[in-house]
């Protein structure tokens, strides 16, 4: 019931922006079966272009349009430099122009060394060896070329449900009627290319015609129009972009409210409004993902980054509401900006596509509780990190005054929430593992690093209690301890790359994350040096 209600509410939004402005619009709503699920052609096109070209748009044209021209006029694309390949040693291995970052399919396929390189990859894969970044790049290139070939040849574009079985019929498996409908679609597409405005009517008719043909083949397998519409809407709105813009505004306004001599209250209220607006977009985007996948969206790195920042905002708002300290909400907003920018800038590292789940993750309730709890603890530690950064500034500016000590106390409170959540989440993971495969604790790297992070914060809490560290040292330790969280959250999947939790694995981004940690370490060394000399 609740889903239905949400669907109705969403559908009101959904049909609003699909303005008739773009005559290519209708084509986005075709249904494609790809990577184990049904998705609108729009998503398929964006994901494909993202993988091959490195961006979801090309020369100002939308992916759905670009991909369609691959099918209609592949020869125009064969010699165009658009297959992204950045890795230098791979370019060297293929003797390609090192200055270029994009190459034509022809150049790559006819390269006389590519077979050797691909054979090396296959040997590695057959021997089940771990792929190093070079071979990950080779594998990506293999996927890029395979995907381009598959789209051009038509067999990756599965548009029509089968009468029997579950594998949809691809373009080159269509019957005569299907082919005829598709060629009408192609003609309509060419019509729009030739003369945008006039072709629009025929385009929408042709799409409608093709869809009703596809539906007539097997109505049971054909998804509701609305589901596709919502996904296209999700693609086009890009709610997380609007969320981080709002958070950025909120952070700026909050900063102003802290510095301003007059009208502080008004600035403060405005910061709250922007925060809430950001949270609204954030939650809306999240809601859409949940609706589209039918599961809690925390099964890969991208989703966890989005979720963790949402959690930070949540805790930031709760603590701000209780303590009214400004820096609490400011820190939360900064985390929101960092996380969502990272999520949107790094789609090759953080895969934003909606993916089906591995079998072991399919018991939704446990997955939800375990992962959500653990990642919520990351939210609090992220908030604590920013509080540490801000707090150290206070210490540098005015020494250990009331304001600075007060901030350290607030950070202590935030950490308390974090350690309880982290412990509870880890134990819930143990219970889940126990329930799923009979092992409460198995020293898997992901759980081990969660445990190490927990022990890190425990050491800090005990050391503070014993008086080994005071408020300044406490904040310094909190900043350092966040590297443990980064290791548990990111490092295990992307640096260590082993273990049972391998379903969330990916590669890349190591230099950026290392820089993030390095900057913090430099900052605390600087802060500690200055603070010491001040004390003397």
């Amino acid at each position: 019931m609740r889903w239905k209600f949400l669907a109705i509410v969403l559908s009101i939004f959904t049909f609003y922006p699909s303005a008739q402005a773009n005559p290519m619009e209708p084509i986005k709503f075709l249904v494609v079966q790809d990577a184990g699920r049904l998705k609108p052609y729009d998503t398929f096109a964006r994901e494909s272009l993202q993988l091959i070209y490195g961006r979801a748009k090309m020369e100002g044209k939308e992916a759905s349009e670009i991909i369609f021209t691959w099918i209609l006029a592949p020869e125009l694309w064969e010699e165009k430099d658009f297959v992204q390949l950045k890795r230098k040693d791979l370019k060297e291995a293929l003797k390609l122009d090192l200055k270029k970052d994009r190459f034509s399919p022809k150049e790559l396929i006819e390269n006389d060394r590519i077979n050797l390189v691909m054979q090396d990859l296959r040997n590695k894969v057959d021997a089940k060896e771990k792929l190093d970044p070079y071979f990950q790049a080779v594998q990506r290139l293999d996927h890029q070329l395979g995907l381009f070939r598959g789209i051009v040849a038509g067999h990756l574009l599965r548009l029509v449900p089968p009468q029997e079985g579950s594998s949809w019929k691809s373009l080159n498996e269509l019957d005569a009627e299907g082919l005829e409908k598709f060629s009408r679609l192609s003609r309509a597409f060419m019509g729009v290319v030739a003369d945008g405005g006039k072709g629009a009517g025929e385009m929408s008719e042709a799409v409608k015609d093709f869809k009703s043909y596809a539906q007539s083949q097997n109505a049971e397998l054909y998804p509701a129009d609305q589901l596709m519409a919502i996904e296209v809407h999700y693609n086009e709105l890009d709610p997380f972009f609007w969320a981080w813009v709002s958070y950025l505004l909120a952070a700026i306004v909050m900063g102003a409210s802290m510095i301003a001599t007059a009208g502080q209250k008004r600035w403060y209220a405005l910061a709250w409004i922007f925060t809430l607006l950001g949270v609204a977009f954030h939650s809306y985007g999240f809601g859409l993902r949940i609706y589209l996948t039918g599961r809690p969206p925390v099964s890969n790195m991208y989703e966890s980054v989005v979720w963790v920042s949402w959690g930070t905002l949540l805790f930031g708002m709760i603590f701000e509401w209780i303590y009214r300290r400004k820096y609490l909400l400011l820190s939360a907003n900064i985390v929101g900006v960092i996380c969502l920018i990272v999520a949107s800038l790094a789609p090759t590292i953080l895969d934003p596509s909606l993916q089906p789940l591995e079998p072991v993750l399919r018991s939704n309730m446990w997955l939800t509780i375990h992962v959500l709890t653990i990642t919520l603890s990351y939210s609090t530690f992220f908030l604590a990190l920013l509080l540490g950064d801000v707090g150290l500034l206070y210490f540098l500016k005015d020494g250990a005054d009331k304001k600075a000590n007060d901030l350290a106390q607030a950070t202590y409170r935030v950490i308390q929430v974090g350690v309880v959540l982290l412990f509870a989440g880890t134990v819930l993971g143990g219970i889940w593992a126990d329930y799923s495969w009979g092992r409460f604790w198995g020293w898997d790297p992901k759980e081990t690093w969660a445990f190490i992070a927990f022990m890190g914060y425990m050491a800090i809490l005990h050391a503070k209690k014993a008086g080994y560290i005071r408020n300044f040292g406490f904040l310094v330790s909190v900043v350092v301890a966040f590297s443990l969280v980064v290791m548990a959250w990111y490092g295990v999947n992307y640096v260590l790359g082993v273990g049972l939790h391998s379903y969330g694995f990916g590669g890349g981004g190591i230099p950026f994350v290392a820089a993030f940690i390095a900057i913090h370490l430099i900052y605390i060394i600087f802060a500690a040096t200055v603070y010491r000399s001040k004390k003397k």
Partner: protein, 467 residues
Amino acid sequence: MKKSPFKIFLRKVYIFLGSLKLAVVVILSVAVIAAVGTIYEAQYNAETAQKLVYHSWWMKGTLIFMALNLIVSVLHRYPWKKKHIGFMTVHAGILVLMFGSILTSRYGVDGSLYLEINSSNRWVSMSDYEFSIWLADANSRATPFLVQPVDFLVEPPNIDVKVGEDRIQVTDFVPYAYARTQVEPAEGKEDPSVMPAVRVQLFNDRINMTEWMQPTKTRPDIKALGPANMVFANGAYEPTKNANELVLKTLNNNKETLSYEVYSKSKNGLIKKGKIKAGETIETGWMNIQLRLLSYYPKAKIEQTFEALKHPTPLTTSAVAIDYNGEKHWLGLNGVLKLFKENAVYFITYANRRLDLGFNIDLDHFEVGRYQGTVRAASYKSLVNVEGLGQREISMNEPLKYKGYTFYQASFQEDPNTGQPTASILSVNKDPGRWWKYLGALMIVIGAMLMFYLGDYLKKSSGGAKS
């Protein structure tokens, strides 16, 4: 009255054992050791990390200090007051959790059960190892004279057995070895393991596989290839009824040529026969599959050798080198090495310890659900028949409990050529520490909440005692 120096010393030790200083040191040490473990795991594998780090004496010693620290810090607070309730619950909870873990590691069972489709098994393969030597006489009666638990990764091998004039020694252990099958022509050698051998390749545009085959004195070598069987027989062979079979047979006194017969289920019997030499290719008549005879040795010895690698891959296994009267042989984990002497054979095994469940389990049916239009598994379930219980279903996240054991659907095996599942792998578990661990964890969470959020309230109501 002056206290004796010894008493002062004891008092100091007692205070140190319950101190926050020790707590911080112990917490950090455990964290560092665990971090080293994850690096070991990334470099080697989970087993190496467990044996050399997580279950090492370093870790155990540190945990003993942690337990002492917890106990003494609880004692320090005697007489206990109401305000201590959060602290006590958390720290006692950790002890309960540790107790549960000890129970699990000492008395628990954590193994796996391999079930082929339509067959039964009662032996659980455990994670620890056994080394054994059996002697089989001319009547094939085997008697064990050495069965020994071993853990070569932690304790290098020192097995050296003398039986009469024979000497069997374990000379080397390789934790990450890559197995190679080596086939050597063995003209003139009189050894029961010397038999004809062929290397065959089966291929069409989708499959391509190459195999060595060698029958034994009594049995042909049969390889199941999904819907068909490949058979290599030394002399006569009675074809299976109603099956697709490709049979290669040796011919008397012919060292170059083999005869072949192809049987088809759909065409009710023999569809093709003829002769084949090394290097020749024939059409099998099924799914455009062709057979190429790559090589044929009328007398050959198949032996496994192992190449030691620095780091494990999913294809490596551990192996031991065995010296038998000066001859070196390799034995891979879960393999059997036969050493021949006059009228008797030594069987040497190095294998996972097997635990008898006490009842049989049959696998009646196994099913893999896939994500639409892909080969990605979405779910799998086994329909098993348990002796004394009847038919039950085990699926991911839906385990079966029986006689103190819990059976979980862990994974499955499929035929690499056909993609059809061939066996289901269950993990078998018995955990006497489970509820202790849960209780401990619950105490920790509740205690922490009491400490963090009711601390002030409890302090006030316990009569303003000094903190």
